[in-house]
């Protein structure tokens, strides 16, 4: 019994750990897309953030400095995105793709030039990383069966960014649905003309959304390189930005449903990690590549089983111009 609980709890705990970058990116995408900017560039912003975090954390031996750098770099990328598709009304998808390619190239070039370790950053010492935190009374509650296991292994023992992410979801929901900024954000993605004639600057609002998107992607990047791993690795985002985008679509651009979609993807990822090399009854050992493909396959199935266009912000993808 206790063994089963332990197994389940540890599976869920790794689900949570794997979900964090997805959730952050999906929330980032939520801001961008609710404002009317399709954000294919989540992946690139996250990757750039991951590299910035690992580099600065290494130089300054501080995880928090790394986080700040990640957010700044990622915001800079978001501003370039905004400059292309808000100021110059460029194709949003193309701009996002440009950022993705640019991030892959820049991080590899700079890592190679700065650290001479073949495109990765040096391994970070514990002090320069976000380390697991123990919640209060872990020792006392840990003794209680089941509940103790859940408390110690599922709720406690994560790093600061995990708790930050958990707190951010309700905050984002509140901002989007209960504040002036949220009202305007939701409006500008649906009908920017209405926002413009109400005396609000469409461009400024969209830039603000891109700032939020950049900041969140930066946190996601820092999580990858300074919390989950101890260095930046080439292309370490591995499509997570796109999974997050799919989760956002599946979550109908709403914070809470999107959170659950991210958890589903992360669960698939956690599960595939567990199943590697395991003999399944009746099937035998599943090839490792098939397991690794599981999250991507799941994304496809969810996207295909669910027609997303009906719920998308109506003006997303369309550069704003006063003339119709």
């Amino acid at each position: 019994m206790e063994d089963l609980v332990l197994q389940t709890v540890s599976l869920l705990a790794s689900t949570v750990r794997l979900a964090v970058p997805l959730i952050l990116c999906a929330l980032a995408g939520l801001f961008a897309e609710r404002s009317g900017v399709v954000d294919i560039g989540l992946e690139g912003k996250m990757l750039a953030g991951a590299f910035a975090a690992a580099s600065v954390a290494f130089w300054l031996q501080s995880a928090w400095a790394g986080l700040a750098a990640a957010m700044l770099v990622s915001i800079a990328f978001a501003l370039v995105h905004g400059f292309a598709c808000i100021t110059h009304r460029g194709n949003q998808v193309v701009a996002g793709m440009a950022l993705n390619v640019l991030a892959v190239g820049l991080t590899a070039v700079l890592a190679f030039a700065w650290f001479q370790e073949g495109g990765k950053t040096p391994a970070l010492a514990d002090a320069a990383r976000f380390r697991p935190l123990q919640l209060p009374f872990a020792a006392e509650i840990g003794a209680v069966p089941v509940i103790g296991t859940i408390y110690v292994r599922l709720l406690s023992g994560h790093n600061a960014l995990v708790y930050l992410t958990a707190a951010l979801v309700p905050v984002v929901a509140f901002v989007v649905f209960r504040t002036r900024f949220g009202l305007r954000l939701r409006a500008v993605g649906e009908n920017p003309h209405a926002v413009d004639t109400a005396g609000i600057s469409v461009a400024r609002l969209r830039y603000e959304a891109m700032l939020a998107s950049g900041a969140l992607c930066g946190i996601a990047g820092a999580y990858l390189s300074t919390a989950q791993s101890a260095a930046f690795l080439r292309e370490m985002t591995a499509g997570k930005g796109f999974l997050a985008l799919a989760a956002l679509i599946f979550g109908k651009w709403m914070p809470i449903p999107t959170l659950f979609a991210c958890l589903i993807f992360a669960f698939a990822d956690a599960l595939q990690g567990r199943l590697q090399g395991v003999e399944l009854p009746g099937i035998g050992e599943v090839p490792v590549q098939a397991l690794q493909a599981l999250p991507y396959l799941l994304t496809l199935l969810l996207l295909a089983g669910f027609v997303g266009k009906a719920n998308a912000p109506r003006a997303s993808g369309i550069p704003y111009s006063k003339e119709k």
């Binding site: 193309v94 892959v104 820049l106 796109f242 493909a293 994304t299 295909a304």
Partner: protein, 365 residues
């Protein structure tokens, strides 16, 4: 249409893309500077490495072949309003088609197995692209996300097949045995030899002409065929297409299939032409380069060929650069590629208002 200010044709098709390109290279130069190398020297090495001697030119054209094909793939899909960023995966799976044909049909004579392998490449690439096309057309799943997912799936599938089933056990590396000589394409060295011209050994092969033929095909298909008219109409407005009796969903699947077939032909150059064996990750990011090539070439076959030539030179010169300069690695080319997508694609209109003003005031004077 304030962004669509009208410009003389030579400005629109010549000067504007050149300005965008110049901006991309300027920023690339700054990156080189930032990592402590001399951009001018870097450029000199790059150019010399790309076109400085016969072997370099051959390598440049060999890369160009890949980029023409993946660039055409992106361009054709673009005309149907689709952003196919799955060229990488489509070419990878197409390699399986070539590999299977060359490995298991090599009892056939060359004139049979060579075209079969080429068609297999096109068919496998088409199939791998048609599924995301179907998902977009009938299930509303965004083709950008699905093609990316299919890239990951292609990587997993090919790794599994090559490492578990196709690899040559006598060989250490995860790759198949060499294809029989008669199943592969002529090398440029061979072909020039017929005319008594001595050429250096290089991976450049007959697929180069296949790529040029593909460019002509795309030109005819998109602008001079009824199917191309349907494709462009769907790309402009689904409502107009339906009104005109054109089935948007079907057209999307067909467009993706042709796009995938074009990307798939890249495998012919790599697997059947240059490598003569199927190996892991032979696509090397060329599928993604196709995006930059298409955008820079304004989705027109002539532009795509020119842009592909530029990228071919960049790749070949970039390899030389990484060899010569301590602080620069091959990914420098990816930086340039990203900047070109940014400036020639997303920011294509940045200089337009300025130019329009310039030419308007000149016209008025």
């Amino acid at each position: 249409m304030s962004a669509g200010a009208r410009l003389p044709r030579w400005v629109d098709l010549g000067l504007l893309p050149l300005l965008n390109l110049a901006a991309a290279f300027l920023l690339s130069g700054l990156v080189v500077l930032a990592i402590g190398e001399d951009p001018i020297k870097a450029l000199r090495i790059l150019v010399n490495g790309a076109v400085g001697y016969p072997e370099a030119i051959a390598f440049t054209l060999y890369y160009t072949t890949n980029f023409i094909l993946t660039g055409l793939a992106v361009a054709l899909a673009f005309h149907a309003g689709l952003f196919n960023i799955g060229g990488e995966g489509q070419a990878y799976v197409a390699g399986l088609g070539v590999g299977l044909a060359c490995l298991y049909l090599d009892f056939l004579p060359g004139f049979a197995v060579v075209p079969i392998a080429i068609l297999a490449a096109a068919a496998f690439g088409a199939a791998w692209a048609a599924i995301p096309g179907w998902l977009e057309a009938y299930r509303g799943s965004h083709v950008v996300i699905t093609t990316i997912m299919f890239n990951f799936l292609a990587a997993a599938l090919m790794t599994y097949l090559i490492t578990n089933w196709l690899l040559d056990p006598a060989h250490g590396a995860p790759e198949t045995r060499r294809f029989a000589g008669h199943t592969t394409l002529w090398t440029m060295q061979e072909m020039l030899g017929w005319f008594g011209i001595k050429a250096p050994r290089s991976p450049l092969n007959a697929a180069f002409f296949l790529a040029l033929a593909a460019a002509v095909f795309v030109w005819i298909y998109v602008w001079h065929s009824r199917a191309g008219y349907r494709l462009r109409t769907v790309g402009s407005s689904h409502k107009a297409a339906l009104y005109a009796g054109i089935d948007p969903a079907r057209t999307i699947v067909v467009a993706m299939a042709i796009s995938g077939a074009l990307a798939g032909l890249m495998a012919v150059n790599e697997i059947q032409g240059a490598q003569a064996r199927l190996l892991l990750s032979f696509t090397g990011g060329y599928g993604f380069v196709g995006i930059a090539v298409a955008l820079m070439g304004r989705n027109h076959p002539v532009g795509v060929c020119l842009a592909a030539l530029l990228f071919g030179a960049l790749y070949q010169g970039g390899a030389e650069l990484a060899f010569e300069m301590r602080n620069i690695n091959r990914e420098m080319v990816i930086v340039i590629q990203g900047l070109i997508i940014l400036f020639c694609g997303a920011l294509e209109n940045m200089f337009r208002p300025t130019l329009a003003r310039l030419f308007a005031s000149r016209g008025a004077a």
